[in-house]
Chain length 133, copies 2
Amino acid sequence: MSRIHRFTGEASNMNWEHAVHRAYDRDGVVGARGSVMISPADGAQHFLFRYYHVLPGGNTMLEDHAHDHGVMVLHGHATVRLGEETHEVGPQDIVYISPWEVHQFHAVGNEPFGFLCVIPNKDMLAKLLAAAN
Amino acid sequence: MSRIHRFTGEASNMNWEHAVHRAYDRDGVVGARGSVMISPADGAQHFLFRYYHVLPGGNTMLEDHAHDHGVMVLHGHATVRLGEETHEVGPQDIVYISPWEVHQFHAVGNEPFGFLCVIPNKDMLAKLLAAAN
């Protein structure tokens, strides 16, 4: 079914109706948490919409994996590691993170860093991989 | 490859590095245009990031199709038709539009309406459909 997730948050602390909050307690993560907006709970089979909030000085996990990410910065500033390179990003910048690219965000400055992170649905990826084999 | 699309636009007229602009001349469309940011040109196989800009009083196409959409309003206000229902949406609202849902946006108010529209890659959808048959 289609569904609207109305914005209910603030400019540097975003939230939406029906968002599911996650602790994001993973190795090396500092001061970060996540939410899931569009998900299979909406009937979405192909992708998820997630929001990550990183406190000043905090960071996401250093990781690489088979799925890619589409990121749009919603507030604040960060450095993003992409493989061996590091770049600064700010509001409305869009980052495509390809499969198996090592990546990590570090919030910089005095404001929380927040971004939309689109990820393909894992079940969908599993079907694609099965079809390719 | 990973790629950053830096924001180069304005609050109500957004643009990004490496964005590909489209006329969006389709049946019934009024005062709207589109851009593609994340695409196969980035190596993205699973989804696309697109931006649509609708002038005050304008609208997108009334349509339904096999793929779904993930939408985040970036500026302005609109009504969105979802099947037989119509809702008002504004900045930061997120809309999941399920497959085969009839949908259309009408910009309301005096400001242009702009939104991020995520769509699964058609080639990926074709593979999924082939795997399902």
